[in-house]
C-alpha cells in the first residue's frame, strides 16, 4: 500500500527537468554532427568523446537510478554488508585503467563495435562470439527493467498513481534514442549529473545537521539494526561475512566493465588516455555513491518506517526537503534512470545487429542495414523492458539482475584475458563459459537468489559471491580443456589481431596517418 501524498510543486519541478532532458535528447542528434546511418556514429557516437563527455557518459551509465535506490535500501535493511558497493566502485577503476585502453585500441584498429566482435576476431569463433553477445543481451535486459523500477519508485513517492507516467517517460526515451543514438544519453548525462551532485551535496550536509551529526546517525543505525530481524551490524564482526564482502566487491569490480553498456561508454572515448584519465576522475561518482549509501542510515536515524526499503531515500527527502526541492531530487533519480536505460538499449542493439543479425541471419547486411536493425531493436529492447517492469514483480527483476552479474562475469576469460593471450582454445572457452553460466545460475537459484553461496567441502566452509565460484570453475575448465579441444579440432585458430593492435598510442597514431593518406 502506498501512502504518499500528492505534491504539486514537486511534480511541477520534476516535469520541468524531465522536459529539459527530453529536449536535450532530441537535439543531441545535431551535436558533433555525424552520419547517423552508420553504426559507428549511431552506436558509438563516432568514437570521438573527450575526457569530460566520457566522464559524464560512463558516470551516467554505471551509477544508475537503481543504484541510488537500492544501495541505501540495502544499508537500511541489512547494514554494513550493503557497503560492499562502495569498495567495488573503488576497485573498478584499476580494472578500467588496465583493460579499458587495450580493448579500446584493438576495437578502434579493427572497427569492432562490441566485445563479441573482438572475441570473434581474436579466437576465430562465431559460436564464442554468439555466446558473448547472448550473455550481454541477457544480462542487460533485467538491468534496463530495474531502471524503470527506480523511476516508478520516485513517481510513486510524489503521490502519482498508475503505470502511465512510466509508459510516457519510456516512449519519449525510445523516440530520442532512436533518433540520436549514443549522443542522446551523453548529452542528457550532463544535465542528470549536475542535478545529482547538487542533490547529494545538499542532502549530505543538511540532513546530518538536522539529525545531530554523523556520530548520532551511525549510533542510531547500530542500535536499530541490532534489534532488526535478522539482526544486522554497522561494522562486520567476527563471523563469516568477510569473504562474502570481499568476493562481492572483487567479482562486481571485474563484472562491471564486461557489461555491454559500460563497454559502449568506454569504446566511445576518443583515445586510450581519455579512458585512463577517467579511471581517476570517475572516483568522484563513487564518493557520491558512498554518501548516498549512508542515507540508508540517515533514514534509520530519522525513524522512518517506509512501506518498502526502496522508499528509504525518497521518504528521507520528503521528510527534510521542501516540495520544490523534492521534485528536483526525484528528477535526479528519474533522469538517472533514462541515461543508463538509453545506453543499455543501444549496447544490446549493437550486439544483436552485429553478432546475431549480421553474423547469422543476413551476412550481406551493409553498415546502413546494420544501423537500421540496431535502431529498431533498441525500440524492441525498451518495449521488452517496459513489459518486464509492468508485469514482472520487482523481486523477480532484482533476482534476474543479480543473475545478470553472475552471467556477465563468465565472459571474462574470452574478453579480458583474451586481451592478453590467445593461448586458450575457442571450444575450451565455450565449455568454460557454459560451466560457469550453469554453476552460477544453479548456485544463485538454490539460495533463492541471494548473491552469496555457502560452499561446504570437507572441513572448509566458505560463503562467497556465487559469481566468484562460477568464474573459478570457468577458468579451471577453460585451462584444463584447452590442450584437449585443440587436438579434437585441429583447424588453425586464426587470430586477425596482432600484438601492436593493443597499444592505444600506436593505434591512434596509425589512424591519424591513414586519415592523412586518405585525404
Amino acid at each position: 500500500m502506498d501512502v504518499h501524498a500528492v505534491h504539486p510543486a514537486a511534480i511541477a519541478v520534476f516535469c520541468l527537468l524531465f522536459g529539459i532532458v527530453a529536449l536535450g535528447g532530441f537535439l543531441a542528434a545535431r551535436w558533433r554532427r555525424g552520419d547517423l546511418s552508420h553504426l559507428n556514429e549511431w552506436g558509438l557516437a563516432g568514437r570521438r568523446f573527450g575526457t569530460w563527455v566520457t566522464w559524464f557518459l560512463i558516470g551516467g551509465d554505471i551509477y544508475t537510478a537503481y543504484t541510488f535506490i537500492a544501495v541505501p535500501a540495502a544499508m537500511f535493511g541489512t547494514g554494513a554488508s550493503g557497503f560492499f558497493a562502495f569498495a567495488y566502485t573503488t576497485l573498478v577503476f584499476p580494472v578500467l585503467f588496465v583493460f579499458g585502453p587495450r580493448l579500446w585500441a584493438v576495437c578502434k584498429r579493427h572497427g569492432y563495435i562490441t566485445a563479441a566482435d573482438f572475441v570473434r576476431g581474436r579466437f576465430d569463433s562465431g559460436s564464442l562470439a554468439l555466446a558473448t553477445a547472448f550473455t550481454g543481451i541477457l544480462a542487460t535486459m533485467p538491468y534496463i527493467g530495474l531502471q524503470l523500477v527506480g523511476l516508478k519508485t520516485v513517481i510513486a513517492a510524489m503521490g502519482v498513481k498508475g503505470d502511465w507516467p512510466v509508459i510516457i517517460a519510456f516512449v519519449i526515451l525510445a523516440a530520442y534514442t532512436f533518433q540520436s543514438g549514443l549522443r542522446a544519453p551523453a548529452l542528457t548525462a550532463v544535465i542528470k549529473d549536475l542535478i545529482i551532485y547538487v542533490t547529494v551535496g545538499v542532502a549530505v550536509v543538511y540532513i546530518p545537521i538536522k539529525l545531530g551529526g554523523f556520530g548520532h546517525i551511525f549510533g542510531a543505525a547500530h542500535a536499530s539494526l541490532a534489534k532488526a530481524s535478522p539482526p544486522a551490524v554497522t561494522v562486520p564482526g567476527l563471523d563469516s561475512s568477510y569473504e562474502t564482502y570481499a568476493t562481492l566487491a572483487l567479482g562486481s569490480a571485474f563484472a562491471l566493465f564486461l557489461y555491454p553498456h559500460a563497454l559502449t561508454g568506454a569504446l566511445s572515448a576518443g583515445s586510450g588516455n581519455t579512458i585512463r584519465r577517467n579511471a581517476t576522475l570517475l572516483s568522484t561518482y563513487s564518493l557520491a555513491l558512498g554518501a548516498i549509501a549512508v542515507m540508508g542510515y540517515m533514514a534509520i536515524a530519522a525513524g522512518l518506517k517506509p512501506s518498502n526499503p526502496d522508499f528509504a531515500v525518497p521518504d528521507l527527502f520528503i521528510r527534510y526537503f521542501p516540495p520544490w526541492f523534492q521534485g528536483f531530487a526525484f528528477a535526479a533519480i528519474g533522469v538517472g534512470a533514462l541515461v543508463p536505460a538509453a545506453i543499455m538499449s543501444i549496447a544490446a542493439s549493437n550486439l544483436f545487429s552485429r553478432n546475431i543479425w549480421t553474423a547469422y541471419i543476413r551476412p550481406e547486411a551493409d553498415d546502413r542495414e546494420q544501423t537500421l536493425v540496431a535502431k529498431v531493436v533498441s525500440l524492441l529492447v525498451k518495449a521488452g523492458a517496459l513489459c518486464f517492469a509492468l508485469f514482472v514483480s520487482t523481486k523477480s527483476s532484482i533476482d534476474l539482475q543479480l543473475l545478470g552479474g553472475v552471467w556477465i562475469l563468465q565472459t571474462l576469460p574470452a574478453v579480458f584475458l583474451g586481451l592478453y593471450t590467445r593461448w586458450f582454445d575457442r571450444w575450451a572457452l565455450l565449455c568454460g563459459w557454459a560451466v560457469g553460466m550453469g554453476l552460477g545460475t544453479w548456485m544463485a537459484a538454490s539460495q533463492s537468489f541471494v548473491s552469496a553461496y555457502p560452499l561446504h567441502v570437507g572441513p572448509v566452509h566458505l560463503t562467497m559471491y556465487a559469481a566468484f565460484f562460477a568464474i573459478i570453475a570457468n577458468l579451471v575448465v577453460t585451462a584444463a580443456l584447452t590442450p584437449l579441444t585443440r587436438r579434437l579440432d585441429p583447424r588453425p585458430q586464426v587470430d586477425e589481431t596482432s600484438p601492436g593492435d593493443y597499444n592505444d598510442l600506436a593505434v591512434a597514431e596509425q589512424a591519424v596517418t591513414e586519415q592523412a593518406v586518405a585525404a
Binding site: T90, N273, T280, G290, L412, N503
Partner: protein, 92 residues
C-alpha cells in the same frame, strides 16, 4: 582467500602477455611506447587494502563520528584515485 582470488585473476598479466607470441623486438617496441609498465603493479595496492575486511572492520577510531570501517574505505577511494594519476603520469 580473497587475496588468492586476486592473484589468480589479476596478478597474471605479465606472464600472460609473454604468451602473446610476438617477437622479442616487437615486445621491446611495445614496452618503450607505453613507458614504465612496472608502475602498473601499484594498481594492486587497493585490492590488497580492500579485499581483507578484517584489516578495517573496526568501530574505532572514529572520524567525525564515522566508524573506521567506513572512513577507511573512503580514504582508499582517494588513494586509488591518486595511484591511477601517478601511474598515468609515469606511463604517458
Amino acid at each position: 582467500m580473497a587475496l588468492n582470488g586476486l592473484h589468480t585473476v589479476n596478478g597474471g598479466h605479465p606472464a600472460l602477455s609473454m604468451a602473446e607470441g610476438g617477437s622479442r623486438a616487437q615486445r621491446g617496441r611495445e614496452s618503450s611506447a607505453t613507458g614504465g609498465r612496472g608502475w602498473l603493479w601499484l594498481l594492486l595496492l587497493p585490492f590488497a587494502a580492500l579485499l581483507v575486511p578484517p584489516l578495517y572492520a573496526h568501530e574505532s577510531p572514529h572520524l567525525w563520528g564515522i566508524p573506521f570501517f567506513y572512513w577507511y574505505q573512503g580514504v582508499w577511494l582517494i588513494i586509488t584515485a591518486g595511484i591511477t594519476t601517478v601511474v598515468y603520469r609515469r606511463m604517458r
